[in-house]
Point group: C2
Chain length 461, copies 2
């Protein structure tokens, strides 16, 4: 049990809790990697950089683990404590500190919701383009911690590309800045991109300067339906290789389409679908025609494009898909949601491999993803009470991750490693690279108090 | 004097040299930070990852400094030894290993010239967009070491944005890979972007996988002439803030224009000029009209746009400017070439400040730069034999760097720190951040053999 007096000194007694509800609330996320259901001993809600620093300095002195937490929407157990200690809940640091339209920049605290950033930007005709689909319920701090990305990564890149500067607190309470408000800098080591994606294991981010962009003048999009999975995946890869300037290009496999059709009550074919959206300041119709020409080689059943409400209508199945899968069958649950990402030329191959791994084990699997990045989300459905099915599911799940790595890709394109993907790190990076990462961890957090038990496959207890 | 037997074992006797010519050749670069004219004791030319590893393992064992070297086109002494030892010349590792057009990727060795990469890409209709202006004489390894960028950064980003994966050798000879061939990954610490820009102080890059892009279908560009510096800088900032999709946008100050006009023999006004280039697959004329509308608020004397040869003609002054400045006056030499970069909203201000610092010290100064990034190159001209003038020049030079930092910018946008910008690192990042950088250096290179004396302001000898 953690000595908590220092926490009360650091943030005041009202913002420390050891009650069961608070501890339970900070012991899980949206993923399915429960391990041994570790709960924090205490939850603390700092409201300033100084308080974050005081908590960390005290924890560092005592060797007490601190796991940063915010919206709890991670999929890999990223913010779930692996070693008890303190859950540092950053949701009360949710301010928008400064917006400088002339610089196309905004300064925010880590607990602010992504959608709040985009809304503040919108008042100046600006937008935060890398927002993930979950942007209205997840925080900027969480997105930075996992180097998240969304549907628009194919055009605009990932969260890391839009983070200019960070203020962060190291394990011993030292406050540093990383990066620059200049859009480019070659002044010393890139601590900014080291902290981005480190899942709270190197530092706790307390302020971020984000880059914004102008909102596009023209938006159109829609849906193409293909005969086969191979056709849909091939059309996507070909569009990216040909340089079609698409802002979103999403694949939905035939099974997911079937489930979504039934849920929404549409009479579309239960066939693979590709959802697209285009952004431009002018000339959007020429770009759409270019895409239509590329897709034509894969004989789509249909390729419908529209704007505004009608576009939203064409995207309905994609929007409802997650709910549809969730309610598909009471007895079947997704095993581990998450993603893999491969070079675009291998995207058709990873889609084939994933389907084969599920088929040969007789498992239902929904495939979808931000396909323009080579990103594949695959949800294997299993009956949690059927141990043999769960075991087959785990084998298929791991086989797809390993296939992605073998194709030159990554075990996780946008959700981080957390607990769930630790076992694949050496296969992906090699033991030497993982050792180099670990030496950096040790250099910056010698007591190992920051989110211990994450990312590394076999961190000593 | 270095014990060289291990070098001969590592690479064979033909690729080790201690002769005066080789040592002199590896003791300088294109910049003007000679310090004490340190020369390496020996030069070694490895031809494989294994040889790089063997050299480093031997040097690590002996505590011998190793400074990676390639084209020698750096401006900040980045590749000039500060502590003798071994110069590791990577120009014989200049292969293009693999080009995968379906993935839009190319694998290269570090010593390959940037232009060779772009030419190989061009055979498949592709290009390497972040190439610096010096791309035909500088190597990919050097660009990675300094996180270089070029005129097209305003549209396409910097070198780091186009490096997907690296193979690199750590100080003790361990070979690692960093990054992923997937276009996005959140799998563990971002070692790739830590190594990029670390100027050979953390690892020696032996292979890089670069991202390529399609070549634009349409290219047009030209030149606008403005009444005042403030107008030119304001027009550029306004264009970027308004989201004009420009591929290059270069500022040339009035003095530089005067010198270039005289050198080329043109009868243009000796007034600030802005050079632009647009890339598109369609709709380029609409974009140019948009730019024209924005520029109109700053009353340009002229704004001429053309394609092909005629465009090249409009860019002539910008192309000849470096030669013109070099031959301007026999007695005046540029003090320290290099750049600073600020947030775009502060670009007009840094231009004003730079001019004021030079004017009040009665110093001729040429201003130019990749202005769309907020990037300013400024060359203060001094008579090297006039000690008082050199002293005034040094004061003005430092004042501009400090002004850029105070405006939220960086001491070096694209040339690295090397020897020349070390003294500004604590002002830019704070002592705590520099200490964190140093702890990473110590973790990865405990003997301090890799390019010692660079980046850090007061590294112990």
């Amino acid at each position: 049990m953690t000595d908590l007096d220092f926490l009360r000194d650091a943030v005041g007694p009202d913002r420390v809790s050891t009650d069961e509800y608070a501890r339970d609330e900070h012991a899980g996320d949206w993923g399915t990697h429960p391990e041994d259901e570790v709960r924090p001993d205490a939850v603390v809600w700092p409201t300033s950089t100084e308080e974050v620093s005081a908590v960390l300095a005290g924890a560092h002195e005592r060797g007490t683990p601190v796991t940063p937490y915010a919206a709890g929407t991670g999929l890999e157990g990223n913010a779930v404590p692996a070693h008890e200690g303190i859950s540092m809940d950053l949701t009360r640091m949710d301010g928008i500190l400064d917006l400088r339209p002339d610089d196309l920049q905004i300064d925010v605290e880590p607990g602010v919701l992504g959608s709040a950033v985009d809304e503040a930007a919108a008042e100046h005709g600006l937008t935060f383009p890398p927002l993930p689909s979950s942007g209205d319920i997840s925080t900027i701090g969480g997105m930075i911690a996992t180097d998240a990305s969304g549907m628009q990564a194919v055009k605009y890149g990932v969260v890391a590309d839009w983070v200019l500067e960070l203020e962060a607190v190291l394990a011993d309470g030292t406050v540093i800045t990383a990066g620059s408000k200049a859009v480019k800098s070659s002044a010393g080591y890139n601590l900014k991109d080291l902290i981005v994606g480190s899942e709270g294991t190197l530092a706790v981010v307390t302020r971020a300067t984000l880059q914004l962009a102008g909102r596009p003048q023209q938006i159109k999009g829609g849906r193409a339906v293909f005969e086969t999975f191979d056709d849909a995946a091939g059309a996507i890869a070909d569009a990216v290789q040909s340089g079609v300037d698409v802002a979103k290009i999403e694949l939905m496999g035939g099974f997911a389409a079937e489930v979504a059709n039934e849920y929404v009550g549409t009479d579309l074919p239960d066939a693979p679908m590709v959802f697209v959206e285009f952004h431009a300041d002018h000339g959007i119709d020429e770009e759409i025609e270019f895409c239509r020409t590329v897709f034509a080689d894969y004989d789509p059943h249909s390729f419908e494009i529209a704007a505004d409400e009608e576009m939203a209508q064409l995207w309905e199945l994609r929007r409802e898909m997650a709910y549809a899968l969730d309610e598909y069958r009471e007895d079947l649950r997704p095993l581990h949601p998450g993603d893999v990402t491969v070079p675009i030329g291998s995207f058709p191959e990873i889609v084939r491999r994933a389907r084969a791994e599920a088929d040969e084990r007789d498992l239902p699997m929904a495939c979808y993803g931000h396909a323009g990045d080579g990103n594949l989300h695959y949800e294997i459905l299993v009956d949690p009470d059927d141990a043999a099915m769960v075991e087959r599911g785990e084998a298929a799940y791991a086989a797809v991750v390993e296939a992605a790595i073998d194709l030159g890709g990554t075990a996780t394109g946008e959700h981080g490693v957390g607990l769930g993907k630790r076992q694949f790190m050496e296969r992906e990076h090699g033991a030497e690279s993982v050792a180099a990462m670990r030496s950096i961890k040790t250099a910056l957090d010698p007591e190992g108090i920051l989110n211990p038990g994450k990312i590394f496959p076999d961190e000593p207890e």
